[in-house]
């Protein structure tokens, strides 16, 4: 240990390396922590600093990373490395130009960004996205802690708009590799495309593609029962799908998948474990929820935003699905698809870009939820989590301002 210490001290002194002081400083801080204390009151008796704070988030993300490596193969690691290298280069370049220390915030951005990408994203697109996100999402505003938008989401949005074909058409089925693994449909896409196809019966979302290959998508298990119990001959020899449930037979009982007529569509168990295609880190919802709860228990993130966000989506979907089953997917299905869990647990809770007042946090979460359901249901986009978080990021200062205005009203004299 002493050898490293003296090496670092010598590096600090070396005249040739003055320019690269931020890099040495970062190595020093990672190895030894910091002995800086606050200069003025209030003094906080806790040695948690940004680095420790950030390492908790990394810790919470690790299970999701491991799960995505499991599901999608070692390409995930390559994508994460590209993200760290390209984004890190931007970060270091700015640190040297602006002569400040390397900010640790990048450790999180560089990990979250790849996790919200489809596993088939070409590596150069990953690099473009992370460079754009770091530059325009963060450095332009002055670095960590001064950004308005979540840098990872800015990068993701940019490449989504720049390369729509790459970013929305190529998803990979978990546990499969090679060309047959590529599919164009995530659960949300399937629901959206089939639900729009027909609006005949509120129970039946889609009915028949052509005579030879009939398919039916039911909105719930009870809908299967209602429609098929009274011997409706329309459903003979038809593939029956049911959103979010295991296979059902015509009488509404659980059935094995082998039965030709009965096909399951995205059972909730599969969605929870992550057996369906999606972005790398967002599919295995169970570890994401565990990571999120760990963060809340560690007091790194606040429970108010995720709870109000996911709760709003649930309530809106519950009500909306009753009246507009073709547009709005069922509530549990909404909760377990797309990036909702990941976004609510790790991105909406970003302390920099979300409100700091309690009421503001509820307001932020609820607005995110409303926007997510609206975008998912009524726009051309399939997934609305990243859009809604970025939109609400822009409103964060306003929300805080309004909350403070109401809370600390000047006393009338």
């Amino acid at each position: 240990m002493k050898a490293i210490r003296s090496l670092l001290d010598r590096l600090y002194e070396a005249p040739a390396l003055q320019r690269y002081k931020p890099i040495i400083g970062a190595a020093d801080a990672i190895l030894y922590g910091t002995d800086e204390t606050t200069r003025g009151a209030p003094h906080v008796v806790d040695n948690i600093d940004i680095k420790r704070y950030m390492s908790f988030v990394i810790l919470a993300l690790l299970p999701a990373v491991l799960a995505s490596v499991c599901f999608f193969g070692f390409r995930v690691i390559a994508i994460i490395m590209v993200s760290y290298m390209a984004g890190g280069a931007v970060e270091v370049a700015f640190a040297i130009i602006r002569k400040h220390d390397i900010h640790e915030g990048f450790l999180i951005t560089g990990l979250i960004f790849p996790l919200v990408l489809p596993p088939t994203t070409p590596l150069w697109v990953v690099a473009v996205g992370v460079v754009f996100g770091t530059m325009f999402g963060k450095e332009m505003f002055g670095g960590t802690g001064r950004n308005i938008f979540n840098p990872a989401l800015v990068g993701r949005l940019f490449i989504t708009i720049a390369f729509p074909a790459i970013m929305t058409m190529n998803w990979q089925k978990p546990f499969v590799s090679g060309p047959e693994a590529i599919t164009s449909a995530t659960p949300l896409t399937t629901y959206k495309s089939t639900a729009k196809a027909s609006k005949v019966n509120p129970d039946v979302v889609e009915f028949e593609k052509d005579e030879a290959n009939k398919q039916v998508l039911f909105t719930s298990a009870s809908a299967v029962k209602r429609c098929t119990q009274n011997g409706d001959s329309r459903f003979d020899g038809v593939k029956i799908y049911c959103v979010g449930e295991p296979a059902y037979n015509k009488a509404g009982k659980h059935k094995r998948i082998e039965d030709d007529n009965l096909v399951r569509l995205f059972s909730y168990g599969d969605l929870l474990v992550g057996k369906e295609p999606g972005s790398m880190g967002e599919t295995c919802r169970i570890v994401i929820v565990l990571g999120g709860i760990f963060l809340m228990l560690a007091r790194v993130s606040n429970w108010r935003i995720p709870v109000s966000y996911i709760g709003t989506v649930f309530v809106l979907a519950l009500v909306g699905h009753r009246f507009l089953p073709h547009d709005i997917a069922p509530p549990v299905f909404q909760m377990l698809t797309g990036g909702l869990m990941f976004g609510a647990m790790f991105m909406a809770t970003d302390p920099i870009t979300s409100p700091f007042t309690k009421a503001g946090k509820y307001c932020f979460g609820i607005s995110c939820g409303v926007l997510t359901v609206l975008i998912r249901s009524f726009t051309g986009y399939v997934e609305g989590v990243m859009f809604s978080i970025v939109i609400m990021n822009a409103f964060t200062p306003l929300i805080d301002q309004i909350v403070l205005m109401f809370k600390y009203r000047p006393v009338k004299t």
Binding site: I97, R98, M140, A162, P164, I166
Partner: protein
């Protein structure tokens, strides 16, 4: 420095300032709307730049030679009429000789009338200076506007369409950056351009360390 000899010290200074420190887009933020709108391909950018430069020079000649006759109260309407006349000439010229570009530019040719660079220079410079300096200033601002547009258009056309002046320059299978052919791409690039130019001209932290 042949240029300096021809223009004289003052004229040279006007020319230089217009392109660098008083750059209409980077320093003053004028003419941004059209810079965003027509910088999607290089051909459009060149046509637009040439049109604006022509109108600038013509306005400079007219306004500065008539400056003692223009009544103070009616000066804005005088500028408007002068600018509008020349814009119509540009529009008719484009319609007659290159209908494709005219179509691509759409309403933006007519909107040169509202381009703040021309109005701004007329109010700030031509109405108080002689013909000679005014023309130098017009050329300088025209060049500044044109090279900014072309620089942005080169990046946007290569990334967004994979072409340069209509010729394919990228390998087959080049993924088009859709965002670059839309307005947001222009915003990002213009932002970066302004960022760079501010850092250079106003001396950002890079210059301090040297």
């Amino acid at each position: 420095m042949i240029l300096k000899k021809y223009l004289g010290a003052d004229g040279y200074k006007i020319l230089k300032l217009g392109i660098t420190r008083d750059h209409p887009i980077f320093a003053v933020g004028l003419g941004i709307c059209s810079a965003l709108a027509v910088s999607n391909t290089v051909a459009n950018a060149i046509a637009m730049g040439a049109g604006v430069t022509f109108v600038l020079i013509a306005t400079a000649v007219i306004i500065s030679s008539l400056r003692s006759l223009i009544p103070q109260r009616a000066r804005i309407i005088t500028y408007m009429i002068t600018i509008a006349s020349f814009v119509i000439i540009v529009q008719m010229f484009l319609d007659a000789f290159s209908p494709t570009i005219s179509e691509a530019l759409g309403p933006y040719v007519a909107l040169i009338i509202t381009n703040c660079i021309i109005m701004g220079r007329a109010e700030a410079f031509y109405v108080t200076n002689g013909v000679r300096f005014s023309v130098i200033d017009a050329v300088s601002n025209g060049i500044a506007y044109t090279y900014t547009l072309v620089a942005i258009a080169v990046v946007r056309e290569i990334l967004g369409f994979g072409t340069l002046l209509g010729f394919q320059v990228t390998p087959d299978g080049w993924p088009k950056w859709v965002v670059m052919s839309m307005a947001p791409g222009a915003f990002f690039l213009l932002g970066v351009a302004i960022w760079i130019s501010k850092t250079i001209t106003e001396g950002g932290s890079e210059e301090e360390e040297e």
